[in-house]
Structures are given as C-alpha cells and as structure tokens.
Point group: C2
Chain length 261, copies 2
Amino acid sequence: MQQLVVIKIGGNIIDDPAKLPGFLKDFATIEGYKILVHGGGKVATEMGKQLNIEPAYVNGRRITDAATLQVVTMVYGGLINKNIVAALQARGCNAIGLTGADGNIMPAHKRPVKEVDYGFVGDVDSSNVNATVIQQLLQAGLTPVLAPLTHDGAGTMLNTNADTIAQEIAKGMANLMQVKLVYCFEKNGVLSNPDDDDSAIGNIQADNFQQLIDSNVVSGGMIPKLENAFAAINAGVDKVVIGHADELHSLIEGTAGTTIS
Amino acid sequence: MQQLVVIKIGGNIIDDPAKLPGFLKDFATIEGYKILVHGGGKVATEMGKQLNIEPAYVNGRRITDAATLQVVTMVYGGLINKNIVAALQARGCNAIGLTGADGNIMPAHKRPVKEVDYGFVGDVDSSNVNATVIQQLLQAGLTPVLAPLTHDGAGTMLNTNADTIAQEIAKGMANLMQVKLVYCFEKNGVLSNPDDDDSAIGNIQADNFQQLIDSNVVSGGMIPKLENAFAAINAGVDKVVIGHADELHSLIEGTAGTTIS
C-alpha cells in the first residue's frame, strides 16, 4: 500500500514569520506522498477587526456569521493558502492549494442547530471525502495544501476546524493508502509534566489512555484531541503523531513527539 | 484531438448578483473539457477602501503595491474564486479553483521596470504554462476555475490581468488540445456601429482586420484585444470568440458574437 503523510499546522506557526519558512522548508523535503493542512491563525481575526466586523458570539461561543464567512474565505482560502503554495513552489514542492469545495474533495453540512447556532460552520463526514480525486492529484505529482474551509454542496462555503480537516482527510484516504497523521504544535508532544517540555510521552495506546486520564497525566483539551486520534486509528489511519513543528522529520520517523497507535 | 473551451468573464458579471448565477448555470452545462477564467471586479477595490489601503498610482497608472497584493490575493484567490467554485459544485460541475501558483500551472515574472514600476504584477510566457498538469486535472473530471493571479517561482504571488491568463492558458493548451477561447463581456461582439448592439461583426480574419482599423470600424481598446486574439490564433488556438455573457452556448457554437479565426 502506498504511504501518505498528512500534516497539520496551526496558527502558532502560520502567524510567526520566524517559524513558517523553516517549517515549509522541512515540509518541502519530505519524500513521498504528503498533504499539508493549515489552520487560520490570527490574520482572519485581525482582518475582521480592520473591516469593522464585530466577532459574533452566542452563549460565549464564537460563531461564523455571514460577514465572518467572507473574511475566512478570503483569508484562509486566499491569503494564507496561496502564500503557502507560492512558498512551497519556491522550495521545489509542487503544491496545489484547495478547500473542501475544490474538486468536491470534502463535502460538509452546516452544523445542526442545537443549543447554539454556530452559523456557517461545516461538519464533515469522512465517508464523503473524495479520496479518489486526492489520490489522482498525488499521483500527478501534486501536493495538496488544504485550507480550513468546506462547502455544503448547495453553493455555500463553510468554516471548518483545521484539526477536523486533517483528521477527516486522513480517515478518508485510509482506504486507499497507509496514512500517518501528524499534528504539529508548539510542544514536544503529550507531556507527562506540563511544566517540563522534555517529558513527552513516547507512545499512547488504547490500553494505557484511560490510565493516563485516571491518573490526571492527560487532562483538559488534550483529552478530546487524543480521543480524535483514536477515532482516526479506529477508522484505519495507521499512526497519529503529536509533536513540535521544529521536529517535523523526526515526528514522521517516530523518533520525536507522542505516537498514538 | 480533444476539444477544450476556455471562457473568460470579467467584473461586469462577477459584480452583478443578478447575472453571475445565470452565467454559472450556463457554464456548468457546457459539455466536454472547459476552463473558466475570472477577473477581479470591484470587490477588491472596495475591500481595499474598507481596509484604508490607498490605491497606488504611478504616472496615472494603477500599480500593485504590497498591500494591494495582499488584498487581491485574498479577494481573487479566496473570496471570488471559492464562491464561484462552490456555486459550480452546486450545479454539478466539479470545479477546482486555482491560481497560477497552484500546481505551478502558470509561472510568471514580475513585470520589468521601464517607465513605470507596476509593482507585483506578473507577466506570463505561455511556453511556461504547465499544460500537462491542466490536462491531468481535466482528465480527472475536474473543471479548473482560474483566478487572475500568478507567482514568480520565488515565493511571491503576482497580480495578473485575467484576459492575459485566459489567453496564455489557451495558447499553452493548444499543443495538447483543440482550443476555443471565449471572451464574455456586456456587448454582443465587436460592433460595426458602437451605438447599435445588433451590429456585431460575425467574423474577423487577419485579412479584413487591417481594413476594419483603417475604416475606423474597430478602434480604441478593441484593437489590442483583437491583436491579442490574433496572437492566440497564431500560437495555435483554433478560434477566439468575443460576445455577450448571456449567450454563452451560442458563442461556443459560433452562432453569436464575433469569431476571430
């Protein structure tokens, strides 16, 4: 089975002009099939402010109203995505920037309204990911760079969490390829001691995950992240790695970060 | 030889919410291989104003400074392009939105500084168009939707005239396919009487073009447009058609508009 690495970077890298070029240089040199998923960063928020668009909240939760949707479509799909593509092209990586609407690679639906109407936010079902189109792009020598946007199939773009995009693409591709999903952030992995960046746990399996929760080693926002990682594994993704963006190649090789399998 | 239709629409359609959906509906139903090239419209100018970016001029000519480049990258590559893609997807057309940087389909170079430094404006050499990548996308069942942006291969996006994008793509593809290039605008074609919209000249060939100029039937901005059309024909494009966006299918069939051959 052909191998594929799906790598997600968040705002902490995108927003940092000292970090992004180095990361992209590392990314460009990864051999074999690869996909980059990028988050939004602060640029969209700043752009919204400059355009006098008040951030919209319902019950304390940020929502995507029509004006915000325009801003994220511009900033994520245009400004951030195309500048990353141009930077990768300059590094010899034949990048192609896409949203979920392009090639219909990731159809989604507007999140159902329960307690909160999140507005133009897309939820994805990985069974709808058009893995064949993505495989054709990869086989044509192209490296997809995915913005955190999807569409509803009825003409409307939707704002979608970048972690979700990465996870769903990885799951959707798992039928066709052996997929490794790498989440890059600003820490060395899942830390056993949050104050010690050298305390990354090397491996987490299903059988020691509950134990790590019970002993409070893993807590807060890391729990849903790891639950999502296990959901990806259960859906056929080979490995999920979480670690520092500075160590991209080591994360892929499994010699740094936390590997979930 | 496989046939390809390259269709260019400008701001007068993009900016008009009464016209764009009808045009995209017509475009979606074109059979066979097709590419849509869209211009910028007023949205970028309005967005620049809202962001307090003063339009930059040198010697009376609009130039693309760094701030303007950010705006056009956002608006052309994100807002306009992705909304067109989503609208086409809703019509069953498997659109994929691209700039010249994506898949390196259209490498360009910053326009050389002579009397005016136009800033981040890209000039394209059609011999650099990556026709093979575009052909692979078409053969994968995808319909490229091109924004008026290119890149310099060194990491910088470049603002590029949409007429130029359309022409260079058509010329670049002419080695692989039989290409028809259709410019849609708000008139019925090249008019023999500018005050009579029913006076479209059906056909212009190289041998009557000079005559039309000499007799002042063709003048002003239409002359360079037609010169570009002949340049495209000389570079292997089969036909160039200029006509009204409302008559897309008739333009393709050659039963409306002005055909240059």
